[in-house]
C-alpha cells in the first residue's frame, strides 16, 4: 500500500506552500482569499489522507475524522449568510 510515499507528499506540500506564497504577490481581495484557502484545504487534505491514515481507514473512521468539517461549514455558512444577503433587501 505504498501508492504515494510520505516523502512525495512532503514535496507536494512544500510546492503548495511556495504556490500560496507566490499567489499572495499576484492575487488580492476575494480571489486571493479563495485561492489561499483552497491551497490550504488541499494541503490539509493531503495531510489527512496520507499522514493521518484516512487513506487506509474505514468509512466510519473517515466520518469521525472529518465530521468537524461539517460543523465548521455550518458555522461559517450561517455567519456568512448574513453578509452575503445584506444587499438583497
Amino acid at each position: 500500500m505504498r501508492t504515494a510515499s510520505p516523502v512525495v507528499v512532503w514535496i507536494v506540500l512544500l510546492a503548495l506552500l511556495g504556490l500560496t506564497l507566490a499567489a499572495s504577490f499576484v492575487l488580492s481581495g476575494m480571489i486571493g482569499l479563495t485561492v489561499a484557502l483552497a491551497v490550504a484545504s488541499v494541503k490539509s487534505g493531503l495531510v489527512f489522507w496520507r499522514y493521518m491514515h484516512l487513506r487506509e481507514a474505514s468509512g466510519l473512521l473517515r466520518i469521525a475524522a472529518l465530521g468537524a468539517l461539517f460543523w465548521v461549514f455550518v458555522l461559517l455558512a450561517f455567519v456568512t449568510a448574513d453578509y452575503l444577503t445584506r444587499g438583497l433587501a
Binding site: 512532503w10 512544500l14 491551497v39 495531510v47 489527512f48 455567519v79 456568512t80
Partner: protein, 207 residues
Amino acid sequence: MADRVREPYAAPGQQREAAMMGMYIFLASETMLFSGLFLVALHLRLEHAPEVVAASRQMHYFIGAANTALLLTSSLLVALAVEAAREGRARPAVLATAILLGLGFLALKAVEYRMEYAEGILPLPGAVTEFSSPARHAFMNLYLIATALHAVHLSIGLGLLATLAVRLLRGTLPLPERSIVMVNAGLYWHLVDVIWIFLYPVFYLAR
C-alpha cells in the same frame, strides 16, 4: 503482530479502530476550538478588508513561511517514524529530529514575537502599541491569541513526541504491538500542522 485484545473488543483491528476513532473525535473538538477563531478572522476580513490587509502586510511572512516548512517537514518525519513503528522498527532518531524542528518553530516564533513587540504591533498586556484603527488592533489581538494557542498545542505535541522518543530509546514501547500509541500521537502532531496550514495564509498573506 497486533496488540493484545482487551475488553470489550473482539479483534485487534476493532480495538485499533476504536483507539483511532477516539483520537479523531478529540481532534474534531480541537478543530472546532480553532474554527471559532477562524470565524472571527473571516468576520474581520469581510467587514474590515482594507485594515486587515494593511495589518497583514506588516507581518513577517517569510518567518511564517519558514515555520510552515519546519512543521511540514516535522510531519513527514513523524509519519515516517509511525510507519516504521507499525512495521516493528523503532526510529527514535527520526522522532528526535521532528522534535528539534518543532523546537525550531517555537524559537522562530519567539524571535518573530520579539520583533513585533519592538515594532509596537504585538498587543501583549502592558505592551506599548500603536494601531491606526481599532480593526487593526483587533486583527493583531486575534493573531496573538490564535498563534499563542497554536504554540501551546505544539508544546503539548512536543511533550508527547519526547515521551515516545524516550520510550523507543529505552525499548519500553513494544513494536509493532503498541504502535497505536505512536499512531495517535502522530495524529495529534499532524492536526497541529493542519491548523498552522490555515493560520499562515489567514494572518500572513491577506492581500
